[in-house]
């Protein structure tokens, strides 16, 4: 076997061909401005002869903490062929105007002037007809699309809340901590001694950083997966717990029961960090409150029973520190009220003991199909190891997901597993985009103006907390954001859209279906709805507006509502679409929503404009995206589209003699001069000038190190953030960013004893809101999942796919070849055999909501009775274009309309009713020939 030739390479002519194929003449920094969360992957984009040829992870991130692995090479398969979508078959490069029926897919190219003039007119018509409230703009996940929504500030029309649109909320975490966004850095996961992968499938969804968990295992840690199916993430675990669908709360509570019975809980942590020592009246089930004990005291003053003094003492609102008090956890005590009567009180912990009697491992085993001894084993491990729960946004999409999350948080609370490295859980947070957020708010160019603006914000902070000096910075910011929800007296802000859906999208009937709802509900959905309205819990957030205001314009930028919206086309096309005079899709591609729109406006792709990836605490980096190539044809960056639309609105308003946009609440915005105000008289019209200014401001605000600028980022690509800023939810992390340590949230609470932003100012497991008491959910319990969808014998679970960020990459031909290249649904092999269904054969998935057809993919990893449809497939990939969301009823849990209670109130991205889509009842049938 002697080599025939000695020249290196692959043979004469072809050798150079391969060498040339790898060459480039330009390389720029790139990443992906989309909510694949956490994103943040630094790439380099290689260009040859003016065309993107490929991209590759930069691999340039440093080790942060000695002894902890670095984050390289962050990226995934989607990001590694993103460039192909720049030239994909669904790319749009010119404005398209509908010429056939909606959904027919007949369009003709038009000029930007014609398109924007028409859209501006439709928006002004809507303002005149119904008010700006009738222009509905959807908050969707593609961060890069946000600038095209500039009309919001000009007309004061509402933006629907992102977490209602795409359900990445964790209601149970929020209930507990007053925030749902604890996020440690990816490298902190290496420091866990036990990782419970629970309601998450990181092998699909956290490709760029799941290695830290596997590396923690090689470092002596243990990994346990808890999921109904033997999920792809299970394969790399030490134990897999195949929990019955929707019974996770029972499992977590049985773990809590074991930990308490075996005295493995951390008393100091429980005393200090949680509401478990707080006193509850046994007669009413309500917390003992200030005015009941001392006349004139605050209603949000709560009490402990001090074992030393043998009396109820107020729990300090300004600190978590116990001081000299030794709070009782168990027992029943008497307290003399201000009116002279005595009442019996118990610590929450005592009441928890009572609840947990129903959750012995043996009892729970029957509910969740997990062996009782296995439950004890995992409980003991969690109590004795630095434990993290690797969760995503799966739990929150169950009807009773809030109960699951509250039980999971209780497990962490009992075992002191948050607020130190290697512990905690995860959800969603973005932060620190202040430089971009306040460009026009700071009034004039330059960093002096930025520093002046920052000073104003600090003084506003003092003003906002005047009535209560114990308010923490985090609480003040929350209050500020609550106001942001109803900006300019209710105009241009974010709204919780459930109320819009209820009246205008056709959900009223569904949400009132008793058999699809919590079976323990004592009244109809409508009755709860009416009570919430009567009590005005949602008044500030425009809930009542939709009783009479019909939507006229729908503006979808970078999203795909007809794929995404739980409840699907059967409600949207039937109920919403006929009311709309104008539907706009701003996107770089034609998606199903685009096919049903009146205009498709062609947006630049990610490497065709300046941008940044999602600023997440997961990586703590500012990740720069440069403009590698010009957008093709007539496509424009979304910021340019936004600016052009603002100009068009101004022009048409002037021509039509419309001076201002008037909100239904009496507020108004002057339209004239909108463009100048948004761009500081044109100063920001240039993309590079604006971006550079934002970066320099980021240094001025202290979020990025000194010296940030467009030039600097073009050189180094990423910068590690050093402070949270106030735009976004960084302060909710409640930990100081340290340059040489992994970030773990909540250390201000655990180390500095700073209170939590909840009603009781502790991690709150007891919710004494009337409705919670009525529901029997004042403490976390397990409730069976309702049969939403009907009485089908299968339960449809779901999750983000491996192959696509939502529906964005499913038409990428490279990616299509890495799966079946067509939509599929996973099904247990024996279930399929019983129905005579072969692997790859089309099946009908149907229930009382709708019907769809899809290919079956058979596997013993799927639990019997379960079907899994990883979401994202485009409706137009299915026969008659009906897809997953068309069999999802889109129910909301009635309890989430509760308000008027401490932290149970709306602020953007937080507490509100969000639709559920897990464990939907469906029937599966072979498609008959």
């Amino acid at each position: 076997m002697t080599p025939r030739a000695n020249a290196s390479g692959n043979g004469s002519g072809r050798t150079e061909h391969y060498r040339d194929k790898w060459k480039w003449d330009q390389v720029t920094w790139g990443s992906h401005a989309v909510d694949c969360y956490p994103g943040g992957c630094p790439f380099r984009v290689y260009v040859r002869d003016g065309k993107i040829v490929r991209e590759e992870q930069s691999g340039t991130l440093p080790v942060i903490q000695q002894g902890v692995p670095d984050m390289n090479p962050m990226g995934c398969q989607k990001g590694s062929c993103w460039g192909y979508q720049h030239t994909g078959p669904d790319r749009v490069t010119t404005p398209l105007k509908r010429v056939g029926e909606r959904g027919e897919g007949k369009f003709e190219p038009v000029s930007w002037d014609e398109a924007l003039g028409d859209i501006a007119d439709a928006m002004l018509d809507a303002c005149e007809d119904q008010g700006p409230e009738s222009i509905i703009t959807l908050m969707t996940p593609e961060v890069g699309a946000a600038p095209s929504r500039s009309h919001l500030g000009v007309l004061g029309s509402p933006l629907t809340d992102g977490n209602a649109e795409f359900q990445d909320f964790s209601p149970g975490y929020y209930t507990t901590w007053g925030k749902f966004n604890p996020v440690s850095t990816m490298d902190d996961w290496f420091l866990a001694e036990l990782t419970l992968i629970w309601h998450c499938n990181p092998v699909y969804t956290n490709i760029q950083w799941f290695h830290f968990t596997l590396e923690s295992r090689y470092n002596g840690g243990e990994v346990i997966t808890i999921a109904p199916d033997y999920s792809p993430s299970s394969i790399h675990s030490d134990y897999h717990f195949p929990v019955r669908i929707g019974t996770d709360a029972a499992l977590a509570l049985a773990m809590c029961k074991t930990i308490i019975d075996e005295k493995l809980y951390n008393k100091k942590f429980v005393h200090e960090q949680t509401d478990l020592p707080m006193l509850v009246r046994t007669d009413t089930g309500r917390f003992l409150r200030g005015p009941e004990v001392n006349a004139g005291d605050r209603d949000d003053q709560f009490f402990w029973w001090d074992v030393k003094a043998q009396q109820a003492v107020p729990a300090p609102r300004g600190t978590l520190a116990l001081g000299d008090v030794s709070p009782a956890l168990e027992g029943t005590f008497k307290v003399r009220l201000v009116d002279g009567t005595d009442v019996e009180v118990q610590p929450v912990f005592q009441r928890l003991l009572k609840v947990l009697e129903d959750y012995t491992p043996e009892k729970a085993a029957k509910v969740c199909n997990i062996d009782a001894e296995a439950i004890r084993m995992i409980a003991r491990k969690a109590a004795t190891k630095r434990t993290k729960i690797f969760s995503g946004w799966n739990s929150g999409k169950y009807y009773h997901g809030d109960l699951m999350e509250r039980a999971m948080a209780l497990l962490l609370g009992l075992t002191a597993n948050w607020g130190k490295q290697g512990t905690g859980t995860r959800s969603w947070s973005i932060f620190g985009f202040d430089g971009f957020a306040f460009l026009s708010a700071k009034g004039k160019p330059g960093q002096e103006a930025a520093r002046e603006f920052q000073k104003q914000m600090i003084s506003m902070r003092r003003m906002l907390s005047q009535d209560d000096p114990t308010m923490t910075l985090e609480m003040v910011l929350n209050r500020f954001q609550e106001m942001g929800g109803a900006r300019v007296g209710g105009m241009g802000g974010m709204i919780p859209p459930a109320f819009l859906w209820y009246h205008q999208y056709g959900y009223k009937e569904r949400w009132n279906k008793k058999e699809w709802s919590d079976q323990s509900m004592k009244r109809t959905f409508d009755e709860y709805y009416q009570e919430a309205m009567d009590k005005g819990w949602w008044d500030e957030f425009m809930a009542k507006t939709w009783e009479k205001t019909e939507p006229r314009v729908l503006f979808e930028a970078g999203g795909n509502v007809l794929r995404r919206h739980r409840g699907g086309q059967n409600t949207l096309l039937k109920e919403l679409w006929p009311k709309l005079k104008m539907i706009v899709s701003v996107d770089f591609r034609i998606n199903t929503t685009g096919l049903h729109s009146d205009y498709i406006l062609p947006a630049a792709q990610h490497y065709e404009k300046l941008g940044q990836s999602m600023p997440s605490p997961h990586h703590l980096n500012f990740v720069f995206i440069d403009k590698a190539v010009e957008p093709p044809g007539d496509a424009k960056s979304d910021r340019e589209i936004g600016q052009m639309l603002v100009k068009a609105i101004e022009t048409r308003a002037r021509e039509r003699g419309i001076k201002e946009s008037k909100g239904q609440n009496g507020a108004s915005i002057v339209i004239e001069g909108a463009f100048d105000r948004a761009t500081l008289n044109g100063y920001y019209e240039n993309e590079e000038v604006e971006f550079d200014e934002a970066l320099k401001d980021m240094s001025a605000y202290g979020i990025l190190p000194p010296g940030a600028s467009l030039e600097k980022l073009r050189e180094i690509g990423t910068m590690r953030t050093q402070a949270w800023g106030i735009a976004g939810f960084g302060i909710a992390q409640a930990s100081t960013i340290e340059p040489d340590k992994t970030h773990n949230p909540f250390r201000w609470h655990t180390e500095d004893k700073v209170p939590y932003p909840t009603l009781t100012r502790r991690a709150q497991f007891y919710i004494d809101h009337d409705w919670f008491i009525e529901a029997g959910e004042e403490l976390p319990v397990h409730k069976e999942n309702p049969n939403h969808g009907g009485d089908g014998e299968f339960r449809l679970t779901s999750g983000h796919p491996r192959w696509s960020v939502h529906s964005m990459n499913l038409t990428n031909n490279v990616i299509q070849n890495t799966h079946r290249g067509e939509p599929f649904i996973f099904m247990n092999d024996k279930d399929a055999a019983a129905k005579g269904i072969e692997n790859g054969e089309p099946v009908t998935v149907h229930n009382e909501v709708g019907t769809m057809e899809i290919a079956a993919k058979l596997s013993p990893t799927v639990s019997p009775g379960q079907v899994i449809l990883y979401n994202g497939f485009e409706p137009y990939q299915h026969k008659r274009w009906f897809s997953q969301s068309d069999v999802e009823p889109g129910m909301v849990k009635w309890l989430h309309m509760a308000g008027g209670y401490g932290h149970l109130t709306y602020r953007p991205w937080h507490w509100q009713p969000i639709p559920v889509d897990r464990a939907v009842a469906v029937e599966i049938d072979k498609v008959s020939a």
């Binding site: 002519g13 062929c81 792809p232 058979l858």
Partner: protein, 346 residues
């Protein structure tokens, strides 16, 4: 030889894939596809780098039954896989759906490529019986075998063993497309380009290697699951994994080709007993199944991995685990750790 300022002592490159860190994300295969094949006619079905779920038929479908390799010192000519068996190469009726004006009467469907197979068709299906299903991911590329049967079988001498890196490379100008190489390759990693009438396979990213940059499948692996280096360099990690710590084994060594791709074999969660309790002593993946893939040495390797993890759990040190943890990513790249963006082409 100098790459990126480092002197490397070996002549044979080897890859080590850690199956306990591979998450089947396909970034390696996509990176390879985009770099070498996209946009070239005749390469639609070509995925020189693939990742499949095992147990499973993989790509080409049922490749392990197709024959090839050496038996008693003689090259075995097995089946030449068809493009249909490799699978994929799909195109779709985009124009009809997006621009045809037919609305819901048409939906997106395949118009070209394999009918019922793909490069990753049986992804995440696996084997076993609920609740003790099992599977793992198996990344595969050309093994750049030391005793490469493709090379011997080639009637035109188009294949050769590169002296500098030990890669099996093809002079595509000399290839006449007779596919004897493909018949002889027991791993079935040689593809046929019908448009050009030549066979093609992994080129070991030689244009990158010769510039001191690791192959795309290695450098782009977000799971940090693959290492490259000279197997005959005793200081290299790949040498240590295979020969010193004995935690990595070849795939189908019984094909007798001395492959240069090695695998850290897969652990799996403890199975459940019939009563639902955890069977700590049991094996979720049948040991005989692993032996059928990786040979009897797989048991030693798994034993070594478990022992090294146990050391870590006891708070002791483990060189092997520290190496697999990969505290600094660049260590996976061996002597090929140059940042490609630094290169300026003349």
């Amino acid at each position: 030889m100098t790459t990126n300022g480092k002197t490397a002592k070996g002549k044979q490159l080897a890859w080590v894939f850690d199956l306990n860190k591979c998450i089947g994300c396909q970034t390696c295969s996509v990176a390879c596809k985009v770099l070498w094949k996209e946009g070239e006619a005749g390469t639609e079905h070509m995925w020189w780098m693939t990742v499949n779920t095992k147990p499973g038929k993989g790509t080409p479908k049922d490749w392990e039954t197709m024959g090839g390799g050496y038996k008693d010192g003689k090259v075995q000519l097995g089946k030449v896989p068809t493009n249909e068996e490799f699978g994929g190469g799909w195109d779709y009726n985009y124009d009809e759906v997006l621009h045809g004006g037919k609305g819901r009467d048409v939906h997106l469907q395949k118009t070209a490529g394999s009918k019922d197979w793909g490069p990753n068709w049986d992804e995440d299906e696996g084997g076993g019986v609920w609740p003790n299903a099992y599977y793992f991911y198996l990344p595969r590329l050309c093994n750049h075998c030391t005793d490469a049967p493709c090379l011997e079988a080639c009637p035109t001498g188009a294949l050769r063993k590169d002296e500098e890196f030990g890669l099996v490379l093809r002079n595509e100008d000399d290839c006449t497309g007779q596919q004897q190489c493909s018949a002889a390759c027991p791993y079935k990693k040689i593809y046929f380009n019908e448009a050009r009438g030549v066979s093609q396979q992994c080129i070991g990213c030689f244009p990158r290697i010769e510039k001191g940059v690791a192959p795309a499948c290695v450098r782009q692996c977000p799971g940090r699951a693959v290492f490259i280096g000279y197997i005959d360099d005793e200081t290299s990690l790949v040498h240590k994994f295979v020969n010193e710590w004995k935690v990595a084994v070849p795939l189908h060594g019984e094909y007798n080709t001395k492959p240069n791709v090695f695998y850290v074999p897969p652990l799996a969660p403890a199975p459940l007993a019939a009563d639902g309790s955890i069977n700590e002593a049991g094996d979720r993946i049948p040991p005989e199944y692993l032996e059928s893939l990786f040979g009897p040495d797989v048991h030693t390797a798994l034993g070594n991995i478990k022992e090294e993890i146990a050391k870590k759990r006891r708070g002791e040190s483990s060189e092997a685990m520290d190496a697999l943890i990969l505290y600094e990513w660049k260590d996976a790249l061996g002597p090929f750790d140059r940042d490609p963006a630094e290169i300026t082409w003349q």
